[in-house]
Symmetry: C2
Subunit: 364 residues, 2 copies
DNA sequence: TCCTGTCATGAAATCGCTTTCAGTCACCCA
DNA sequence: TGGGTGACTGAAAGCGATTTCATGACAGGA
């Protein structure tokens, strides 16, 4: 019906509708609707945006015209006036693997629920042209960004945009910015205590991601604190940093195993990928997990339950982080004055085979 | 000039500029730049959009003014005139797991490279309010959509939008729509032949995703054809359909194993998830892979190389699919008249432990 | 009867940009 | 010297919505 160009009724009596619409069919505008309904554009606009200001009889006429012409307001024009696009930016440091896709999934679902759309951007560190980033983000109503390292350049840029911002994963000091955080310490403590329990291991390690990474820092700190509380303050070699990657975990473990260490030890990894690398190395070196080496990961991405032995890990509600970020952002959009929040989402140890030989394997 | 508040020259001689800027700092507009540079808005616009039409001296003045005022064109106003937003829609049936995140990663990188941004939407089948989908997608310049089942409602909606469209994963008959496809048959044939080779198995199975799914159909067809070519035309029970999920793979395999079957057989799964489920079931039933059961997956998501035994699978260049889709879309945007393409991306068998006990384990 | 207050509506200004159209100016050639 | 040419530039007309302000009709109160 959108495509119904019923004789413009104006010019000639009966110009044959053949070859009528040279492909350039312009969408119906508010003007067309107004004309068709015999009212002014103001009235049409009111019917759409403030019904109740217009009498039921006219409203009905207008609605009919809208229906008939398949009218949809032009979002650019609308945005020009209202300064709203109903699009939210969702900026990630990268898009890779389960971790980010979960985050995005939660965010997208929530955005949709609230009538918004998501403009995603993986702000790859490589691309140093700030113009790129700014360019299209300038039409979003707000910005949810995941920032993993303090002093991120991206955050500064974002502030300059003067947009409502919510940051995931990093607690920024700016009191005007909402933050959605993960309660790393509970999970890390649970995991560490779990590793300490039952057969107390020779030695416990924390194998983290990048040293600058906020999550890694928190997890490492809690690890150390928990050990200290148990009277086993860790040495410098027991807390190490690297990258959030399978390769790094493998590398580290292979080295340790080469040195003959690690048997009878326990490892808390900075995330599941690292844990998987360690698992792999153990396998290659014929070290039995969990009998000779107990491993706990972090994040509980899907893969954790699919590897053999299945990976104990700390569950982080990633989808919920994304969803909460969007919800908070929308709340702020609706009520700009509200005080910024610091929302902490819980984490929880999930024990599987890699740290407990009695654990059920299952439950994908 | 509408907004030029420097002494209207009319009323009072010298109203004091104190209390001048209450926090509402409006972004500089093209008018402000024009005024600051002492030129017309037309000239400013030209400096930005068609340099070469303006003399170097004026251009310099204008650039200085832009710099000084931190001027950024208003995207709504710009869009209103040009009908371009430099935003592309990227519609997925869902956002879940490695599969879609890879797709998205490739797409995002390419979009960025080309100066576009991505508006993502997981068109969850639940949400049946078409208005939702249409709403913000109406400001995109083009739409890349993954469609896995013929006759998708979403595709029709998209066509109504009259936007340039590129479809991933499904070959649509509409000759005006570009398609980015995966060469399922090569991969499926390689995989099937691989399973037939060396110790010829008792029986070969194809355990697919949804029967309506286009990829599954192609893969199943090739599987059957290859078997037939080898003189071993498959029975009805050898090609089965279910869902793209670990659970389905597990369920199917567990049933077969219960019946005592499957030992000495080979399975080609519709995707890696299904294969993983089968692997899991085999493990639970103490069936040795690959000695007693050989398994090949499809897609080569990251997890395939991380499970034990590592999973043989057909590599599908997911990121490349996404990137190609975007590239094609942009190409069409730049040259609307170009004939629609059918781009086939290659697939390739990757042999790992789950189908070949001599395979190297490694290479994550 | 006249004045005032509501309600429904339309005319027109505005948002910030692009683009057409029409100069202006300097210069060159016949 | 007159007219033609080309290079720059500015005025102004949109693009399609929202919103202010004015208006007309009508009802109620003095």
């Amino acid at each position: 019906m959108a495509s119904k160009p019923p004789q413009p009724a104006g010019p000639g009596p009966h110009q044959p509708p053949k070859s009528d619409s040279p492909p350039r069919r312009r969408d119906a505008s508010i003007q067309d609707v107004a004309a068709a309904a015999g009212v002014s554009t103001a009235t049409v606009s009111r019917v759409l945006n403030s019904p109740g200001l217009v009498s039921e009889t006219t409203a009905e006429k207008v609605r009919k015209a809208i229906e008939q012409l398949g009218y949809k307001p032009n979002l650019f024009a609308q945005g020009l006036m209202t300064r709203k696009s109903h699009v939210l930016g969702f900026a990630l440091p990268d898009i890779f693997g389960e971790f980010y896709s979960e985050l995005l999934r939660g965010a997208d679902a929530e955005a949709r629920r609230q009538g918004y759309h998501l403009l995603v951007g993986a702000e790859s560190r490589k691309d140093d042209n700030p113009a790129n980033g700014n360019l299209a983000f300038r039409l979003v109503d707000g910005l949810a960004m995941m920032i993993t390292e303090p002093n991120d350049r991206l955050l500064k840029q974002a502030k300059d945009l003067q947009l409502p911002i919510v940051v995931m994963d990093l607690e920024v000091d700016d009191p005007s910015i909402d933050c959605v955080l993960v309660d790393n310490s509970t999970g890390a403590r649970e995991a560490t205590e779990h590793l300490l329990s039952s057969q107390p291991p020779e030695k416990l390690y924390f194998v983290g991601g990048p040293k600058e990474n906020f999550d890694t820092q928190e997890r490492a700190a809690t690890f150390s604190a928990t050990l200290k509380a148990a009277g086993r303050a860790p040495g410098a070699d027991q807390v190490v940093y690297g990258r959030y990657a399978v390769e790094w975990g493998y590398l580290w473990a292979a080295q340790q195993l080469g040195k003959g260490g690690l048997r009878g030890c326990g490892v808390l990894a900075g995330n599941d990928e690292i844990a998987l690398g360690i698992l792999q190395a153990a396998h290659d070196h014929k070290v039995k997990v969990p009998e000779q080496l107990r491993i706990v990961g972090f994040d509980d991405t899907r893969i954790a339950s699919l590897v053999r032995p299945s990976l104990s890990t700390v569950r982080v509600p990633l989808a919920e982080v994304g969803a909460t970020a969007i919800a908070t952002l929308v709340a702020r959009l609706k009520e700009p004055g509200r005080p910024a929040e610091r929302i902490h989402l819980p984490t929880k140890l999930v024990v599987r085979e890699s740290s407990d030989k009695n654990a059920a394997s299952g439950g994908f």
